[in-house]
């Protein structure tokens, strides 16, 4: 062939044939079962602990205190980098990964997913803390007295301090 070697490209094209995938008309894609797509929350398992929020590199997951006794776990798909670190760290397996990549939209508000949590109420001061689900999770996991977990961290701390004071003074109730 020598100088006309470049014509061989027609042979290559012929051998390769048409490789185009018919997606979206037919479900022919190159998506493998290892692909990391959108994540999904199982609201029956999520306890609102915030482990995923801590692990998320781009802050796509956020915990928002609404101030009305609810805590929102907000997932903004538009910022998600699909690293699935949240799945690694979730203590209850509430987050599952999907192969879903069909996320395009013309409305940015479609890209929010929210899990609404009820906050726990402190039995002593009446302040809101943590979430009811997290409280339940701790009670299930560790045999601990309800009365201890029923209080908000501040009250717990105060209680401990008071107890220590009393002990130092040698006075017992």
């Amino acid at each position: 062939m020598g100088k006309l070697g470049f014509i061989k490209i027609l042979v290559i094209a012929g051998e390769a044939g048409r490789v185009t995938r018919r997606y979206p008309f037919k479900p022919e894609t190159l998506v493998s079962e290892d692909f990391r797509g959108r994540i999904e929350f199982d609201e029956t398992k999520c306890i609102g602990c915030g482990a995923c929020v801590n692990a998320c590199p781009p802050n796509a997951l956020e915990l928002v205190d609404k101030g009305d006794g609810t805590l929102l776990l907000k997932y903004f798909i538009g910022r998600c980098i699909f690293c699935w670190r949240c799945i690694d760290v979730c203590p209850t397996g509430a987050i599952t990964g999907t192969r879903d990549f069909e996320l395009a939209t013309n409305d940015v508000s479609d890209l929010y997913e929210v899990v609404v949590h009820e906050r726990a109420e402190c039995s002593e001061c009446g302040g809101k803390y943590s979430t009811i689900r997290q409280k339940e999770y701790v009670v299930e996991a560790v045999p601990i007295t309800e009365s201890y977990i029923d209080k908000c961290p501040d009250c717990r701390k105060n209680k401990l301090l008071r107890a220590l004071e009393r002990r130092r003074g040698g006075v017992y109730e």
């Binding site: 048409r18 997606y23 609102g48 781009p58 798909i77 910022r79 996320l103 939209t105 009811i132 689900r133």
Partner: protein, 161 residues
Amino acid sequence: MSKFLKKSIWVFHLNTGSCNACDIEILDVLTPYFDAERFGVKLVASPRHADALLMTGPVTLEALPKVINAIEATPRPRILIAMGSCSVGGGIWHDTYSTIGGVRELLKILKEREIEVDHVYYIPGCPIRPEAIIYAIGLIKGLVEKKISSKVKKAVRRTSG
């Protein structure tokens, strides 16, 4: 959108400071396995020829004036397609000092300067895989249904009270 605009979408690639991953996926969409040209999509070299601007990246301060110029140079009706997490929501750099944090901030600036954008589409992904771009093209052309919608789920408590 008119019928013929849907049949022939010429796109201009507007990199506003992205990491390149989305950009090469945009090129990838034109290559044999995905072939965006079968939908009438063509990559053009000048914003004057474009119908749609494929915006990647979180819009850095340095690129901002040039981005605005490019959008202004595009004849109407113009479509802005925000591609990838950086562009849609600012991505991992959503609050750093030298970016403005994605398309939503950009749209605010455009509004201030009275530059109108007729349609805005968002494609999340990091990077957006070629099929996701094809899906978005299908969405613009009305070939596929929108699948994603905002969800509010209520955590279920086990015990009562």
